[in-house]
């Protein structure tokens, strides 16, 4: 029995934003700066392409199989046995991801705010909270998320202004002077961190139509990438690339640098009181995706298994990792091969299944997305972002000014791309209802 609550396009976009932008702020900048040094803030161009590609895939799935989630689509395309195996693979991937993230954030909180609390107790509290959240519906989560993500996004957007006295643009130079490879490597790391967005596939049946799913994915991925670009820009220009690549939780240090006035000295406490609920929401979404996958086997409601799965995740979070270094390494580097494997196996089998069913006439062909004027302009701006990085990477080593110009162009194209994506959202969803 499925949860039939519907969520709006904007709510789903914000949920995706929470899913992608928040968890990549804790330890990922360390890996990005380790690979690309001062160019780490260019890392979110390829993740945008990946996220839009995933959105297009969901659009096609939702168009061919309306009202079904990804697990049910797999079962109906690949049959009960192969579909069951693929779903098991996906559920295991989410269990591994959730266990690693739970441990990562428990280590983060036990080393930053809750210094004398044992990490096991923090893991227990996180797991109990997500078990409690999962007994509700997706609509509850989506509505809770809207409040927190809006406040947190406003703080992130104002970060370059409130950190103005700390920002040193010299730390960003020389821009793109080491060629294509370092930004490409950091982009792969960032794209792998976006891999768990596939959990959104478990909630395809909550959204009204395929067009809404595509638009929510595109908007969510764009906003997340923009916020993460701003975050990494501030980290590199305030903390410096050398420190970012060596410190584990650099985000904590960045927000501690915010000194608005003498009376507003501890802005970090306010930031982290918004950050923590968003992390819990992300964990709850992953947890519900696992439960929905298990419910596809049992054909019953998803709630009765939540305590068992929660305890399993609690056990894995504690037993799988020995220390913080292992957790960080696993989240930053270990997830790349795992995500790649899951994507190849799952989407390969699903694409083959869909092609066979199309060939035998069991499914209809889906039309392309009608992107409209603003969608086309957003794509053109995205091409501009890629071209500016390519220009900087090619000519940046020859003359420093070329790199600086390409960085300026990248920021301009990214802002325009954001603007046109919002206009496309208004054109396709708000105006047409």
């Amino acid at each position: 029995m499925k949860d039939k609550m519907t969520i709006s396009t904007l709510q789903l976009a914000m949920l995706i934003c929470t899913f992608l932008a928040i968890s990549s702020q804790a330890s990922l900048p360390m890996a990005l700066a380790g690979s690309a040094k001062q160019d780490a803030w260019f890392s979110y161009f390829i993740p945008i392409l990946y996220g839009c590609g995933a959105g297009m895939f969901f659009y096609k799935l939702a168009h061919k199989f309306p009202g079904l989630n990804m697990y049910e689509i797999t079962n109906s395309v690949c049959g009960k046995f192969v579909g069951g195996l693929l779903n098991a693979l996906f559920i295991l991937y989410f269990i591994v991801d959730l266990s690693a993230q739970t441990r990562l954030f428990s280590d983060f909180f036990s080393s930053s705010i809750l210094l004398r609390t044992p990490p096991e107790l923090i893991i227990m509290m996180i797991t109990l909270l997500i078990i409690y959240y999962s007994s509700g519906t997706m609509e509850h989560l989506a509505r809770t998320n809207v409040i927190f993500i809006l406040s947190y996004s406003i703080i992130l957007l104002f970060l370059p202004i409130i950190l103005l006295n700390e920002i040193d643009l010299n730390k960003l130079e020389p821009v793109l002077s080491s060629g294509f490879i370092p930004p490409l490597k950091s982009s792969i790391l960032a794209a792998a961190a976006f891999g768990d967005v596939l959990a959104i596939g478990a909630f395809l049946h909550h959204v009204k139509g395929p067009r809404d799913i595509y638009m929510a994915m595109k908007l969510g991925v764009m906003v997340s990438s923009f916020l993460l670009t701003v975050w990494n820009f501030c980290l590199i220009s305030v903390v410096s690339p050398v420190f970012v690549s060596r410190l584990i939780f650099t985000g904590w240090i960045l927000v501690q640098q915010i000194h608005v006035t003498d009376f507003l000295d501890r802005v970090d406490l306010m930031v982290f009181s918004l950050f923590m609920p968003l992390i819990l929401i992300k964990h709850a979404v992953l947890f519900i995706a696992i439960l929905t996958g298990l419910a596809s086997y049992t054909k019953k409601g998803r709630n009765f298994g939540n305590l068992m799965v929660g305890l399993l995740i609690m056990l894995f979070s504690i037993a799988a990792f020995d220390n913080t270094n292992e957790v960080i390494m696993f989240n930053n580097y270990g997830m790349i091969p795992l995500t790649l494997l899951v994507h190849i196996v799952f989407f390969g089998c699903l694409s083959v299944g869909i092609s066979i069913s199309k060939w035998t006439g069991r499914t209809k062909t889906s039309p392309g997305v009608n992107i409209g004027l603003f969608g086309g302009l957003a794509r053109a701006m995205l091409v501009g972002c890629g071209a500016s990085i390519a220009f900087g990477a090619y000519f940046g080593s020859k003359l420093g000014w070329y790199g600086t110009v390409s960085a300026g162009l990248f920021i301009m194209f990214l802002l325009l791309c954001m603007y046109f994506t919002f206009r496309q959202y208004g054109e396709t969803i708000l105006n047409k209802g």
Binding site: T298, M329, F330
Partner: protein, 74 residues
Amino acid sequence: MRNPFLILVLALYIASIIANWNKHGCGARKVIYFCTACLTIGLIVLYIIPFKFSIIEQTFVLDIMKATMNFMKG
């Protein structure tokens, strides 16, 4: 068992299996089988092969992680 917290969680897990065994016909049992299979594999890796403490250290995941890290930083 080296961590008392793990014993507590394991006991809770067994209690939840007993409490859920007959719920929703065979529906709950499928979830129990899936979770128990995952847990058994995890515990075998951890305690039957008692070289190091964490699952990550005892599996090939650590080698993959290190190789990826060296490639990305290299």
